[in-house]
Symmetry: C2
Subunit: 507 residues, 2 copies
């Protein structure tokens, strides 16, 4: 039963999830493991949510501050949000219940660059971390922790938290052992040194997480799956977007600006990312590498077929069938996958050095190339910026992709002015929709506008965008980035008021 | 006469500025030296402007693409803009004539992170560089170039340009020799290595710029001063802003979050920056360092008094009296100042490693902490983002400062929504006006809004900001970042229409 807890001292700290959850008190700052629905604690948050619900129902306010790696799953964010138990949450989230609570204004949410989370914790910007709740795969005789399917901020949580609760999840394959590379060379300024990683496959750390056993107040045994969503095959629109991007990459190779094995790929998650990765698989590439955040099925497939020589990430988020594939050839995959702390997977120093090709989704782009990754109509948070800023700013190529419309055409992805800016005009090189691709490198704002309107906008919105741009070029206060401020956000306002960005038909 | 040109082959390439300018043809991409009015070529651009003026007057369109380090001076940007000789200009500029031409929509201007310029040139994003025009202080027997009062992108220009025109400026003090540190270890991905700089004073390169003599098509002797503007003493408002920031830094030291000698300082230029540096000088600090872009008088003073142990920069832009002070103790200062290429002074890897305290000006901040550094009313460019993005994103502390109003109170620096975003909510930690300081670290958007409105806004605008925020909290589509899109930019629109952001008085 406890074959995964081989350290005697820690074995004595075993208790139930309910007992462990009882150690968490109102107002505490609790740092949890978890990144993209992988490696999050599963039993303690759920037990805690039940306790919180009870307390809140009986009028004793019980809320905690929750820090994670990135998104988790219903058992964590969903349950805690439903119990109204979260006072503050950071960074990235994607749970529908939590998102709704944030957008009702019921809790504080801090959306931040994923590479900033660990260092801002070390800098003391979030105060003390009272308790870390971290899922691990295994505890060895000496008390070293084999990380789970994600590392995220766990190194920092274990070091910075006053007390530690460990969830040892037997569901996680024992075969994960040896895939992790935890770098222990970080420091606070002025004592920082170069991070000695030169290639995506370099190992610069240890396969274990260290944890002072004296800080461990509970060890909970769990046997529960990760979010583990089934893999959705790319739809037609995603394939079109991927097609444009693949054509562009091939063009860059022909021009000699990219080698045949490209540069390390960073890929967001979701349908479009899957289509791009699938497309790369069918384009004759070999010996590619990835330096990214999440390894999902599409990337595992590329490793399996040898298109991708190896992948570095911080999270390993597979579908049930992806997991079977992994386990069926575990030795093969383990040699080709490295999981790192997210401060390393997303480190500006390393992304810049490696020269990544950053490919991320977006909510909207304006005609001048400012990208909104986070807010619907400027005010309603979707998920968060995640690592897209870490990668876009420092990449060799920064690409943002989305279908040109959303909500059955009621929303145009290309707008006169972005209603929120996460990636500025200075950080966006390529914009892609199913309509086409705009290569913004070396273009001024007005040149970018012509390219984005012509190549990326949906025909249903293109004339209105062109009309806005033409009038702005004539009437704008300044003509560097022409705007008509009285109507720059009117498309979003119309969407809020009428449910569509489409202009009313003149009568 | 030619004692500054000691290489025989290059001495034979001497010619007049007019002869050299005649080698530049319409449509060429010309990369020029210059950073913050220091080290820019002075004779060739002027002669070129005269030639261009003549051509354009007689109907032969003559325009070139101009790349620099950052801002130059009237002899370069001003003259070329006046002659309508610039087709494209990048990056940062601050010349009134050039700015007016850009805002009339007459030329393409690309505003970009200063750390991106060199690498995007190497990546080929601006096409071929036809000619580099670079000011140097001296050419030695072997043809090595002693850089001038700025380095900027000169290493890249000399390497990437097909042909080179050198201006040897006798006005530049021979004593500059030995102050420069030109790093030749950069590479293109996938061959990049860690940059071996661990402290602001580390020397990792050479005191010379290399240049293939075969590429040199002209050497022009010059004896002309840098822009060399007199130093303006800080005004009362700037001193108030500085006071708030100094109090904050002292608080951080008391809290143990900063050591007594702080962390390497990055300081923008201008009145507020001078006030901050002056204030540091009078606050008992010792053994400080600077890792910044420009060394101006206020920083030289701090070195002179021993408050600053040393400063690293890419430009040395002094007033006439600052220059006298430098020359009067040249050995002392030369040991304490290092000038580097701007790709090194602004490198994200190094800024993050050193943990800089980044202090920059702004045009406006919105209540949620998005900062506009570049555009008036969203469309009219002021100067450009410069290095503020390189520093803010990667700093230990990112501070943005400005008076709370401009144009005699007609403009509020704190607005409901920024009309252009250069630094996103994810990158701004501290906002300061003469009214006070908002520490945004660890705050959610609504918490930031309360802090900025209360601490930074001018009393004449504070009630209107509070009213906007309160209504937005009630009526916004989403309540994560509450906004009323119908009026979010109405303050700017009112300024354009009526010359003031102040709401009309109700009658």
């Amino acid at each position: 039963m406890s074959e995964r807890i081989r350290n005697e001292a820690l074995r004595e700290k075993r208790m139930s999830a309910e007992e462990a959850a009882a150690l968490i008190r109102p107002g505490m700052t609790v740092a949890m493991s978890g990144f993209t629905g992988a490696g999050y604690p599963k039993a303690v948050p759920k037990a805690l949510a039940a306790r919180i619900q009870q307390a809140n129902d009986s009028g004793d306010e019980f809320r905690i501050r929750v820090l994670t790696g990135a998104s988790t799953a219903p058992e964590l964010d969903g349950e805690l949000a439903r119990a109204r138990g979260i006072e503050l949450r950071l960074p990235y989230q994607s749970d529908p219940t939590l998102r709704a609570r944030i957008n009702e204004g019921e809790l504080e949410y801090i959306d931040m660059h994923l590479s900033h989370v660990a260092q801002h914790t070390w800098f003391g910007y979030f105060g003390n971390i009272d308790i870390a709740v971290v899922e691990v795969t295994d505890i060895d005789e000496e008390g070293r922790l084999v990380p789970s399917s994600s590392i995220g901020n766990n190194k920092t949580w274990l070091e910075q938290a006053g007390q530690v609760i460990l969830e040892v999840n037997r569901w996680q394959p024992a075969e994960l052992k040896g895939m992790h590379d935890v770098y222990y060379g970080t420091a606070l300024p002025p004592n920082r040194k170069p991070i000695p990683l030169l290639h995506p496959d370099d190992r610069i750390g240890e396969p274990y997480l260290r944890c002072d056993p004296a800080k461990v107040i509970a060890v909970v045994e769990v046997d529960a799956p990760d979010r583990n969503s089934p893999f959705a095959a790319p739809d037609a629109e995603s394939k079109q977007i991927a097609g444009h991007l693949l054509e562009f990459l091939a063009h860059e190779v022909r021009r000699g600006r990219l080698a045949k094995n490209l540069l390390p790929l960073q890929s967001g998650v979701g349908n479009i990312a899957n289509a791009v990765l699938d497309g790369l698989g069918g384009s004759g590439y070999r010996d590619l590498t990835a330096y990214t955040e999440v390894i999902q099925d599409a990337m595992l497939n590329l490793i399996g077929t040898g298109v991708l020589r190896m992948a570095s990430a911080t999270s390993f988020a597979l579908s049930p069938s992806g997991l079977s594939e992994f386990l069926s050839r575990v030795e093969y995959y383990r040699e080709r996958i490295v999981l790192r702390p997210q401060e390393i997977s997303n480190h500006p120093e390393l992304i810049r050095r490696l020269g990544c090709i950053a490919m991320n989704g977006m909510i909207e782009a304006d005609i001048y190339g400012n990208v909104n990754s986070t807010h619907v109509a400027g005010s309603r948070i979707m998920n968060g910026i995640g690592g897209s800023g870490d990668f876009a700013r420092n990449a060799y190529l920064s690409v943002f992709m989305a279908p040109s419309t959303a909500k059955d055409g009621a929303i145009s992805t290309i707008v006169p002015m972005a209603s929120h800016v996460d990636h500025t005009e200075h950080d966006v090189m390529v914009v892609v929709t199913e309509q086409g691709l705009a290569d913004l490198r070396g273009l001024s704002p007005k040149q970018r506008a012509r390219s984005i309107i012509a190549s990326c906008s949906h025909p249903a919105y293109r004339p209105a965008l062109q009309d806005y741009f033409d009038r702005a070029c004539r009437e704008s206060y300044g003509k560097h980035t022409p705007h008509l401020l009285g109507e720059a956000l009117s498309w979003h306002q119309r969407f809020i008021e009428s449910g569509t960005m489409r202009p009313p038909i003149a009568t």
